[in-house]
């Protein structure tokens, strides 16, 4: 073989080798992305199914899902999203810490004041939740109402990281120097289990406004029957601002609704 031919062969081998190497490396990277996408879809499918199934039970139950990848729960004023490899919008309200690792425990509670506003989903993983609070008795009492796999993870101490001013139904919590109201024990559960409770609160305010609007629109239709819904509507409208509202409003709306039914009018909820 001549020297020129030898050089040509080596150059040819190097170019073909580089092409094959690039091809196989590209394939490996694309295949990895594909498998990650598959894992993500499987996880989202499992999470979606688990959260939907929780709604169908009338008992206080929780569910556990193994997570092959860690998930991030992102909260913004437009709602929640679950981030695995990419952002996926969640249609539900989630009280949870930001990062959930290895396994996820989920629990669900409908939020009613006294008519249903929305469903809350509480998520946590296997790591403990340490709460240093000024009101150990109150936090312990709400902890007792949680399912066992949540209860066992919450450790309550005396301290000032989670300052509660109020009772089981109404008050404020101060976390990271932010004072945020709660209205109903379901929101207090959320304050205990959320890493960003102020964002959760902003979202629930939107949901309350939606529920108030739906009942307003329903009342407009029901007035066709000749019944007067103005009084109950005036009370329901007060729920749009729960900051300075007394929890007694819930009982008062409940009584007005019962009164409507007792005079043969359709109940508003």
């Amino acid at each position: 073989m001549k020297k020129g031919e030898m050089h040509f062969n080596w150059i040819f081998i190097m170019i073909v080798g580089a092409v094959f190497l690039a091809f196989f490396t590209g394939f490996a990277i694309k295949y990895k992305d594909l498998q990650e996408r598959k894992t993500e879809i499987t996880m989202l499918n499992n999470i979606n199914t688990a959260l939907t199934n929780l709604q169908s039970s009338s008992f206080v139950i929780s569910t556990r899902i193994d997570l092959p990848l860690d998930i991030n729960i992102d909260c913004s004023n437009n709602g929640y999203s679950i981030f695995i490899n990419e952002k996926n919008k969640a249609d539900v309200l989630i009280a949870s810490k930001k990062n959930i690792k290895r396994s996820m425990h989920a629990w669900y509670q409908p939020y009613k004041i006294p008519f249903k506003i929305t469903n809350f989903y509480y998520l946590t993983d296997d790591s403990p939740i340490n709460i240093a609070t000024n009101n150990v008795n109150l936090v312990n009492s709400i902890k007792e109402e949680m399912p066992d796999d949540f209860k066992s993870k919450i450790n309550v101490y005396n301290g000032n990281n989670f300052v509660v001013n109020g009772d089981l139904n109404k008050g404020t919590v101060t976390v990271d120097e932010k004072e945020v109201p709660y209205f109903g024990k379901e929101m207090l559960y959320a304050a205990v289990l959320s890493s960003n409770y102020s964002c959760f609160y902003n979202n629930i305010k939107n949901e309350i406004n939606k529920a108030v609007s739906i009942h307003e629109s329903k009342a407009r239709i029901l007035t066709k029957s000749g019944c007067n819904y103005n009084l109950i509507l005036s009370k329901i409208n007060l729920l749009s601002d729960i900051n300075d509202l007394d929890y007694g409003i819930v009982k008062s709306i409940e009584d007005l609704n019962k009164n409507l039914i007792s005079i043969n009018c359709a109940g508003l909820y």
Binding site: S217, K218, L222, K224
Partner: protein, 156 residues
């Protein structure tokens, strides 16, 4: 050309063709896997749509003193400040059957049988997934229950 050189060239050619065949196999395998993941994603979309149907039903549920009655409260279906992305959501009465389709408006309710609860279509999205579930429809003005169908159209 010497015999050894010919054999060397033959070996290189055979190796080259084997690598080409392996590469083709890998490309086909990748395409096959990619298609199966697309199908899987489609199943996820359908699953998500089923969940949306259930969530939607809960959102407009008829409650008696706060207790769920497993029926859609039709008087709530006029609420129009919803956002479900590119979807159309309809509720229609199927029993008692009626010959004419009468779209429900505030002025003709409850003398109607078809609600367009949400409609946000995008002309660029040519594909759609359609899912329906039977629902019980409650009419509070007449205190009546009727059988209906809740349908979601998801455009993508």
């Amino acid at each position: 050309m010497k015999k050894g050189e010919v054999q060397l060239h033959e070996s290189i050619l055979v190796t080259f063709f084997i690598i080409i065949i392996i590469s083709l196999g890998i490309v086909l395998y990748y395409k096959f896997t990619s298609n199966s993941i697309d199908n899987y994603e489609m199943e996820y979309k359908q699953q998500q749509l089923t969940s949306s149907l259930i969530i939607f039903q809960n959102f407009f549920e008829y409650t008696n003193l706060g207790e769920p009655m497993n029926a859609v409260d039709t008087s709530k279906l006029f609420y129009n400040n919803l956002y479900y992305g590119f979807r159309t959501i309809t509720v229609e009465q199927v029993y008692p059957a009626q010959n004419d389709e009468i779209k429900c408006e505030l002025n003709n309710y409850p003398e109607c049988n078809y609600f367009v609860v949400y409609d946000n279509q995008n002309t660029r999205m040519k594909n759609k997934i359609v899912q329906s579930i039977p629902v019980s429809l409650y009419y509070p003005l007449s205190n009546e229950y009727k059988l209906g169908r809740l349908t979601f159209y998801l455009y993508y």
